[in-house]
Amino acid sequence: MHLILFFIFAALCLAGAVNLLLQTHPINSALSLIVVMTSLAVLYLLLGAEFLAAAQVIVYAGAVMVLFTFVIMLLNAGREERTLGSRAARVVGFPAVAAFLALLATVLLKAHGLGRAAMQEGVTSTDDLSAVLFTKLLLPFEVTSVLILIAILGAVALTRHGDGERSASK
């Protein structure tokens, strides 16, 4: 059962990813990304990470992707322009990616049983999670606040400043 589910969602996930690449309109790409993320959330669930699955849906598919779509709308981004592109990206990049993928694949395949659908014993409870989070990993948690602070600060600074600038210049 789990195995089947796994394969279904894994396939969905990959399809989403490929679609993301193939779509030329950003909004479509964004939607495909949401597909990827939600299917990943299912996979998390299969791997026993229920909290993460929830978080994935809420934070990623919800918040982050909303942000993305919002910006796409804001900037009124249209279809991708057909630009010349970079020859280096193709000539160098693809072989490199292929090689990278191959190498990584060897590594992961060597690691026995990792890539396959896992057994279902031991669903990590949110309790355990938070226990660790607020004891052993308290510091990172706190530090994250600084991160968030900076992100907010930066985003505000960048966007607000632009407004002021624009109004000032006009």
Binding site: A10, C13, L14, A17, V18, L21, P26, S29, L33, V36, M37, L40, L43, Y44, L47, A49, L52, A55, Q56, V59, Y60, V64, L67, F68, V71, L74, L75, A77, E80, E81, R82, L84, G85, A89, G93, F94, V97, L101, A105, L108, G113, L114, G115, A118, G122, T124, D128, V132, L133, T144, L147, I148, A151, I152, G154, A155, L158, T159, G162, R166
Partner: protein
């Protein structure tokens, strides 16, 4: 394995997408790939830490998204384009 493929797809996305936002999305894809592997490893080792790591990665991704999109907006305002290949004022 899946995560590797996903990761690579993300990388490819970075390489072929022509829009800053989609490029950024590709990065998110890469992060998700990593997350997947974290969860898998966490599952394998029965270690909560892996999951927590994922949690943090999500937060970081969110923060990055905020900042990154702000920057993209700034770029758009300054240059009125989102095409990756147009952003090459500085070279040589």
């Amino acid at each position: 394995m899946l995560s590797a493929i996903l990761f690579s797809l993300g990388v490819i996305g970075f390489l072929i997408k022509r829009n800053l936002i989609t490029v950024f999305m590709s990065i998110e894809l890469m992060l998700n790939a990593v997350n997947l592997s974290f969860v898998t490893f966490a599952h394998q080792w029965h270690a909560v830490k892996g999951q927590i790591f994922v949690f943090f990665v999500m937060m970081v991704a969110a923060a990055e998204a905020a900042v990154g999109l702000a920057i993209i907006i700034a770029v758009f305002r300054a240059r009125a384009t989102l095409a990756v290949d147009r952003i090459d004022l500085m070279k040589l």
